[in-house]
């Protein structure tokens, strides 16, 4: 079972915390991963901003770097009024980033490799977009689906396409993150499994195990890149979708 690449995605239920109807609620390993992620993010940012010095220390530089990075991304795609969403976008970025990195530690769960978690993350974005869009623009928000400058004859067709593209956003957003984390971890596990199984074949096997070992090391580095990249992509797309909520009229 140790070499089963799927094993790492199993939700382990540590203890039950209650039931509603037939539904059982457990404290699981993914819950632990999410809790630890939140604790790390909040603890890090709290400690990093504790000194509030004009010339930042190391921790504060990192926190400021993350702040400037996300704020710059948000500001460049939504403008100044988009900064009202900064706490949400920063939460999403830090949560996904730290959850992805958290999964890189052996024996720890990658919460973002669970499609339900990535789906919830993307739904958080989409509900914010839809909720804010209707609250701010009323039915004018539906102008999002009618691009300006399109001849009246093709408006129904274009609008239909726009609606479909809008509805597929939460799916693409969640599946992208989920698929990347899942595939990366499976690949890593498969190559690491090769090392163990080849090494058990004797002297030739040990020599042959070097190749998958090198691959595993390379893939680990790649996974760290992917962990950051996916958090960034999620953030950028979130900013673009929020821009739709702020300025529906293309």
């Amino acid at each position: 079972m140790a070499n089963d690449p799927i094993h790492q995605f199993h939700i382990q239920e540590f203890f039950q915390i209650g039931t509603i109807g037939d539904t059982e609620f457990h404290f699981t390993n993914s819950a632990f991963a999410m809790g630890a992620t939140v604790a790390i993010v909040a603890g890090f940012l709290y400690l990093a901003t504790a000194k509030n010095s004009l010339i930042p220390g190391r921790l504060q530089s990192v926190a400021e770097l993350a702040y400037e990075f996300v704020a710059g991304t948000l500001r460049s795609s939504t403008g100044k009024e988009g900064m009202r969403f900064f706490p949400l976008v920063f939460s999403l970025f830090m949560f996904i980033l730290v959850a992805n990195f958290f999964g890189m530690f052996p024996y720890f769960m990658t919460a973002t490799s669970q499609i339900i978690i990535t789906f919830l993350l993307s739904m958080t974005v989409m509900l914010t977009v839809v909720g804010y869009g209707f609250a701010k623009h009323g039915f004018g928000f539906l102008g999002l689906f009618v691009p300006s400058g399109v001849p009246m004859a093709v408006v129904p067709l274009v609008s239909a396409i726009e609606v479909i593209s809008f509805l597929s956003r939460p799916i693409s957003l969640s599946v992208r993150l989920f698929g990347n984390m899942l595939a990366g971890h499976i690949t890593l596990k498969v190559f690491a499994g090769f090392v163990a199984s080849m090494a058990s074949l004797g002297a030739i096997g040990v020599g042959g195990a070097i190749l998958p070992l090198v691959m595993t090391v390379g893939l680990t580095a790649l996974e760290f890149l992917v962990a950051f990249l996916q958090a960034y992509i999620f953030t950028v797309l979130t900013c673009m979708y929020l821009n739709d909520a702020l300025h529906p009229g293309h």
């Binding site: 939700i11 999410m34 909040a42 709290y46 504060q60 400037e68 706490p87 949400l88």
Partner: protein, 203 residues
């Protein structure tokens, strides 16, 4: 390792009856049913039975993170970053203001320097003119006095010359008298001598 697979599978195989038939011990029932069915467990991330717990914990933890971000962390961060930006902008503005001020001071200083220079120049010019005039006057005075002295000296020279010329007649008379006396042995009268000398001198 089957303990985490079985319940999920049991849900797929017999969801409703399992909980309906044997309400007191649902977990055990699930496990048994799972083993009996012997099918494959769903791919773990698609195991819908585990979704409610994850939704709950996501809401709890992400909600907590969002609240912390909104209330505590982002305000602290933005205070630092925006505060620094404001501080830098303020400092730049102050530096600009001071620069303008110093430029103004420099302008005033340069103007004062130019004024002082021109004043000094004027003073120097005036004193040079004065000194020149004084020197010219002095030179004229000295020249006048020198001319007067020269005139006096020339007068005296003429006097002395006339006197000397007078003396020459007397010496000539004496010499002539002495020469006559020595040649003839006879002392001529002074009148004769004087007559003879003046006759020669006027020639």
């Amino acid at each position: 390792m089957t303990w985490f697979i079985s319940p999920a599978h049991a849900e797929d195989a017999a969801p409703a009856p399992a909980s309906a038939d044997v309400p007191p011990a649902p977990t055990e029932t699930h496990t048994e049913v799972g083993h009996e069915a012997g099918g494959k467990a769903p791919f773990p991330p698609f195991d819908t039975q585990k979704f409610p717990s994850q939704i709950l914990w996501y809401v709890v933890f992400f909600g907590l993170l969002y609240l912390l971000m909104k209330r505590v962390l982002v305000p602290r961060l933005s205070t630092i970053v925006e505060g620094r930006a404001q501080r830098i902008a303020g400092d730049l503005e102050e530096a600009q203001r001071l620069r303008i001020e110093s430029d103004k001071a420099l302008g005033t200083y340069e103007k004062a320097l130019a004024d002082a220079k021109s004043a000094a120049h004027a003073i120097a010019q005036a004193s040079t003119d004065e000194a020149k005039a004084a020197a010219t006057k002095q030179r004229a005075d000295i020249e006048a006095s020198l001319a007067a002295k020269l005139e006096a000296a020339e007068g005296r020279i003429g006097e002395i010359k006339a006197k000397a010329l007078g003396d020459v007649n007397a010496i000539a008379e004496e010499t002539a008298a002495a020469v006559v006396a020595a040649l003839s042995g006879h002392q001529p009268s002074p009148d004769e001598v004087a007559k003879a000398v003046s006759a020669v001198a006027t020639k």
